[in-house]
Symmetry: none
Subunit: 135 residues, 2 copies
C-alpha cells in the first residue's frame, strides 16, 4: 500500500485543525474518545471502519473518501452492475437486461445463470455457430 498509517494520521490531524476542532470537540461530535483520536492522529492506533465512519462527516470528509484514504477501499471501485455503464467497453452488462433481471428474485437470477451455463456447454459440444441474428 502506498499509504502508511502515520500518513493517515497526519491527514486527519491537518483536517481537524483546518476545521478548527479540538480533540475533545471532535470526540464529542463523533463519539470516539479523545485519547483514541489522539493516538490515531499520531499513528499509534489504526482506526477501525466504525471509527472512520464516525469521524468522517464531522471532519468534512466523504465516507468512502476516508475509506479510500485508509486503504480499505481501492481507489475507484467499478461496480459491476449499474455504475460500470460508461467504464467497461467490451464486457458490460446491458442496463436494460440488468433492470429486468433485478426485478426477479435472486433464486430466479441464479437459475437463469444455471440455464445459460447449460446452454453454453451444450453449444460447445455441438458447435452450432449460426450468426443470423435479427436486430
Amino acid at each position: 500500500m502506498a499509504l502508511g498509517i502515520s500518513d493517515l494520521g497526519k491527514i486527519l490531524k491537518r483536517q481537524r485543525i483546518t476545521v478548527s476542532l479540538t480533540l475533545q470537540e471532535l470526540a464529542a461530535t463523533s463519539r470516539v474518545s479523545p485519547s483514541h483520536l489522539g493516538r490515531i492522529e499520531r499513528g499509534e492506533r489504526f482506526p477501525s471502519a466504525h471509527v472512520l465512519r464516525r469521524i468522517a462527516k464531522p471532519l468534512g470528509f466523504d465516507e468512502d473518501e476516508l475509506f479510500t484514504l485508509a486503504g480499505f477501499l481501492s481507489p475507484q471501485t467499478p461496480s459491476i452492475a449499474e455504475k460500470s455503464q460508461a467504464g467497461y467497453s467490451g464486457h458490460r452488462l446491458d442496463p436494460y437486461v440488468a433492470k429486468l433481471l433485478a426485478e426477479e428474485p435472486v433464486e430466479v437470477q441464479r437459475a437463469v445463470i444455471g440455464i445459460l451455463t447449460m446452454l453454453k456447454s451444450i453449444s460447445r459440444g455441438t458447435a452450432v455457430t449460426k450468426d443470423s441474428s435479427p436486430t
Copy 2:
C-alpha cells in the same frame, strides 16, 4: 442499522456456497484463516474492513457493496441506492449473476431475458403440471 451481524454471516455463507467454494479454498484465495471465516459466517466474529476487503472479490462482491452490507458504508451512494438498500429482500441484481452475465455478448444477455420472459408467460398461462387444484 437494519442488518445484524448474523445476517451478514448468512449472506456471506450463501454467497460462498453459490460460488461453490469451501472455507479452505476461500481462505486460500483471500488469505484469511478458514477458522476465522467460519466464525464470521456463523456470526461469532465481525469481520474487520481488511478482511471484508480480502473476501470481496473471491466471492464476487463489490468492495463497497460488502461494506454497505456490513454497515460500514451508508447506502448514500446516489444511483445505486436501491441496489444495497432495497437490498437483500428482493429488487437487486445479484453481483455474481451480474458478473457472469456481463461476460456474455449483449445479444446473449438479451436472449437470456427473452427466454426468461417466455418461461414466465408459460408458467403464468398454462403448462405446469396442474393436479386438480382449483383456485
